[in-house]
Subunit: 168 residues, 2 copies
């Protein structure tokens, strides 16, 4: 865990600032090339192994946020679904979709420049979605309903009995 | 908004139960064909327009959850990043990555069978990640740090001035 003076030193680490500056540079280039204003890079062992920019509108893919694009690219490059040992640098604080993707990908740490309030001021829903997913289901703006079915645990039962499965 | 008796009627709606049963059927088939134990379908105007199963391990893609796969497929089929007018049926309660993707895709509603506690018992981190993303950054198991840079709002400034941009 990084704390106090050590944290301040980490924040001023020139290499970290350089990786983050690259993510910011990608976010600027993205606006100039038809994408959304977000960029991210993934670093392993002091080297950038993948990058991504927001391609939601040009690619008709609402999940194509910079961080998700970078994670998918890094996993393809490294032939794994597990990015333990890697760090992600993002031009803006990851939205809850991207933050959860970072957890699923087991990244070591997250470094970002602008934050969810800056994104909100720029017209993006990051902050609103953070607040929505914390709400009980019945209070959310997108209604979520559970319907129990007789066999709804069948796939989990098969999974539990499966030998040689790859867990994540 | 659907409430009380109306909600109970909605839960017993045979068509809804059929769509959900299809998502559960896909989750079972997925285990038998090398994927994770999750399935989802997207419905528009009473028809299934896309489906997805969990492909994290076979495709080396930590974001390839059933709901994300189905959303990306529906967006490709319908040539849009906006799935307003569509509903998603998932064999299990969406994890926070998938739920946030559902918000970004503007789906109308979410129907699911098993829930995050069932997923936890089956060995999956959905419940843990819900709890992690609600924590303040300094308390999370994956450290998140902001480093302000001089030009970190530049992409948002360019975005604000861009004419003809596609907002989402």
């Amino acid at each position: 865990m990084i704390i106090n003076g050590e944290m301040s030193e980490e924040r001023n680490n020139p290499q970290r600032r350089e990786f983050l500056a690259e993510a910011v540079r990608l976010s600027v280039e993205s606006v100039r090339t038809g994408g959304g204003p977000f960029g991210a890079v993934i670093v392993k062992g002091g080297e950038i192994v993948a990058s991504g920019v927001n391609r939601v509108a040009p690619d008709n893919d609402p999940t194509a946020h910079a961080e998700v694009v970078a994670i998918r690219s890094a996993c393809r490059s490294l032939s794994t679904f597990n990015l333990a040992g890697c760090e992600i640098y993002a031009s803006c604080e990851p939205c809850p979709m991207c933050l959860s993707a970072i957890y699923w990908a087991r990244l070591d740490s997250v470094w970002f420049a602008a934050d969810r309030v800056d994104a909100m001021k720029a017209g993006f829903d990051d902050d609103r979605i953070y607040r929505e997913i914390e709400l009980p289901m019945e209070a959310r703006s997108i209604p979520c309903h559970q319907i129990k079915l007789d066999d709804d645990l069948h796939s989990f039962e098969l999974w539990a009995r499966l030998s040689g499965k790859v867990e994540y």
